[in-house]
């Protein structure tokens, strides 16, 4: 039904566009007056007036309809003698009634349920009909209103501008509200977690074994259990593993990315650049899960083999394999950004350097790179926050055990891996184990936020210098 309504609203709006355009044209010719806006603006004006009120109404109605029907139905069922002690049982009865209505319920149907199902059908019908009637009423009212305005040769252009501005504002508002919503959900769940586990135990603990808290209701935790849990959520091994893998990734990505960026910006001919830059950027487009199995199935075993031949014990899931592949994944971030930054160093600086007799590499090393340094640092920091937030590769290639190690050949784990491990499979939503995922998410979010902020500040500082 909603799709039919949407379709009809679209059709009406579009036809009104053409109607409004030609109508105002003919008005201007008939009465020989100069219109206050181009005819197409009157078209837009009608479209916006026809569609927006109806769409807003449809949206609001669709949000509230199920809630209202549900409360009415539960009430009628209760009046007819249905017995339920709490909200969950009421929900269950409501779902049964709905299923009976749709003909997908195969249990016993008693008279109460039957009556309620009939009532449900009645209400659904009533609501749908009134929805259609109201929407058409709104459309007709707004069209009449806007047509009248148009006939008076209103300033359609200004009105359209105002409405469009409103639409753009609402879009950005949605984006902002979503972000806030995510932050707050992280925050509230984390607060629940920290009400059980001390913040300092979490931040400075060196032991991470959340499975100890599996299926343990946070609200009914005993003192003995608490003692046991106290040191199960130590954040240090995770941040150490994360930083370690990110560090290995940076060891790969920064030199290769930076050098290829310098080559692209300073040495490559336009032709080479035009071909090779997109190819490097393809690296950023490969799904990370593909990198993940490349790391887990090819690189990991390869290192293990090499290690065995050299007489070293190499775990098949190692920080080295994960970091290496992650570094390769990040190369395009560094190379592309540093290429852009180096390119925006003014040619006049290079000329100045050549003019005193410097060679190309001297110029790059001593003039271009220092001038581009803030921007390069910015690109590296963005790459670091990408590395810290990366999940798939480490889940597949770095291992799950929270070892506190700096041996790159051993398996280690990261914050993101642990979040995945905690939330995969069956879980109790009240247990500290599950809630620790939110705490990890919040910590990760704050860490990348700080890095991004520093990176953007660095990039901005650079921009101010030459604009």
């Amino acid at each position: 039904m909603n799709f039919v309504l949407l379709f009809l609203i679209t059709i009406f709006s579009l036809s009104l566009f053409f109607y409004g355009r030609s109508k105002t044209k003919s008005i201007s010719i008939e009465k020989n007056i100069r219109l206050n806006a181009l005819p197409k603006f009157y078209g837009y004006y009608l479209v916006l007036w026809c569609s927006i009120p109806a769409l807003v109404f449809l949206l609001v109605w669709s949000l509230f309809e199920p809630v209202i029907i549900k409360s009415i139905i539960i009430e009628t069922a209760a009046n007819q003698g249905a017995i339920f002690s709490d909200k969950n049982e009421a929900n269950l009865i409501y779902e049964k009634i709905k299923a009976i209505h749709l003909g997908t319920y195969f249990g016993d149907i008693d008279s109460i349920l039957k009556e309620s199902a009939l009532a449900y059908a009645k209400f659904i019908n009533l609501f749908t009909n009134s929805k259609v009637v109201l929407i058409f009423g709104i459309i007709i009212a707004s069209v009449i209103y806007s047509l009248k305005k148009i006939k008076n040769n209103n300033k359609a252009r200004d009105d359209v501008e105002v409405i469009l501005k409103g639409l753009l504002f609402v879009s950005s508002l949605i984006a902002i509200l979503t972000t806030l919503g995510i932050i707050f959900s992280l925050l509230f769940e984390s607060i629940k977690f920290f009400s059980v586990i001390n913040v300092f135990d979490y931040l400075f603990g060196t032991n991470w074994s959340p499975q100890r808290a599996f299926v343990r209701d946070a609200s009914s935790i005993t003192a003995a259990e608490f003692e046991e849990l106290k040191d199960a959520f130590g954040f240090i091994p995770l941040i150490a593993g994360t930083s370690f893998i990110a560090f290995i990734a940076m060891l790969v990505a920064v030199p290769i990315g930076l050098f290829s960026g310098i080559y692209m910006a300073e040495y490559a001919s336009i032709k080479v650049r035009r071909i090779s830059k997109p190819i490097i950027e393809i690296l950023a487009g490969i799904p990370t899960v593909v990198y993940g199995f490349f790391a887990a199935l090819t690189v990991g075993p390869f290192f293990r083999q090499v290690g065995e031949n050299l007489g070293l014990t190499v775990s098949s899931e190692s920080a080295l394999a994960a970091g290496l592949i992650m570094g390769i994944m990040i190369i395009p971030y560094v190379s592309s950004l540093s290429d852009d930054v180096i390119n925006s160093v003014p040619q006049s600086l290079r000329d100045g350097s050549y003019a005193v007799g410097a060679t190309k590499s001297e110029t790059i090393k001593q003039v271009v790179i220092p001038a581009a340094l803030p921007g390069i640092i910015g690109s590296v920091l963005l790459a670091v926050s990408r590395a810290i937030g990366e999940t798939m590769i480490v889940v597949m290639a770095a291992g799950l055990a929270a070892n506190l190690t700096i041996n790159p050949l051993e398996s280690t784990t990261t914050i993101t891996t642990q979040i995945v491990m905690i939330l995969v499979g069956d879980q109790e939503f009240d247990s500290p184990k599950t809630q620790s995922a939110f705490a990890l998410g919040l910590t990760l979010f704050i860490a990348t936020l700080i890095l991004n902020y520093i990176a953007q500040r660095a990039v901005k500082k650079y921009r101010e210098k030459y604009d």
């Binding site: 600086l349 000329d351 003019a355 005193v356 007799g357 410097a358 001038a371 210098k465």
Partner: protein
Amino acid sequence: MSNIKIKSKNLDVFYGDKQALFDVNLDLNEKEVTALIGPSGCGKSTFIRCINRMNDVIDICKVTGNIEMDGMDINDKNLDVVALREKVGMVFQKPNPFPKSIYDNISYGPKIHGKGETKSELDEIVENSLRKSALWEEVKDRLDEPGTSLSGGQQQRLCIARAISVNPEVILMDEPCSALDPIATAKIEELIDELKKTYTIVIVTHSMAQAVRVSQKTGFFHLGKLIEVGKTEKVFKNPDNKMTQDYITGRFG
């Protein structure tokens, strides 16, 4: 008559398919200021960029013909461009100090050429260069501040100091005052007068008055051709060519 320092013969320059200079024959006298005038895009800058081979930087640029400095062929493929640019310094239209300290801006050139091995030698070079460019008194107490923190006119004098820090024989100036106010311009012109005692100077300018003030010899370019060249006094007072006459009196340009 002073010695000829730089001599160009049948010099042609192409940017891709477009010819920018046609058969330019121009002699530059030693320890003299030569001004090059002419409307925008007439090839003045292209010409001076031939002298220190700065056109090498532009991929599509091709230079044919002959250009010599002290009898040495500048266009020679085997010529060491680094050594050439050590002898031929350049100052650009817009001041382009490096984003480094004032000191490092000046010491950059000498360091690259291995001059000034010790700190005190470098200090001396920096001081001398800044003194010669009449900037020393203004910046001697803040040598470690960034070069970009100076005013436009000071920046341009810093760039001149940078050019003379490697002790060149020739200084090319590509509209050095076009981004400066009259007071800063006057200072630079004064400086040019002083510098010509030591260096051969070529200056590209759009200001007739400046050409008259600073130069001994003037060349007028139009559409890539050298229309007229001669003593500045003569070119401005009594030009041979009608086009020169029209340009310097402001009838076109």
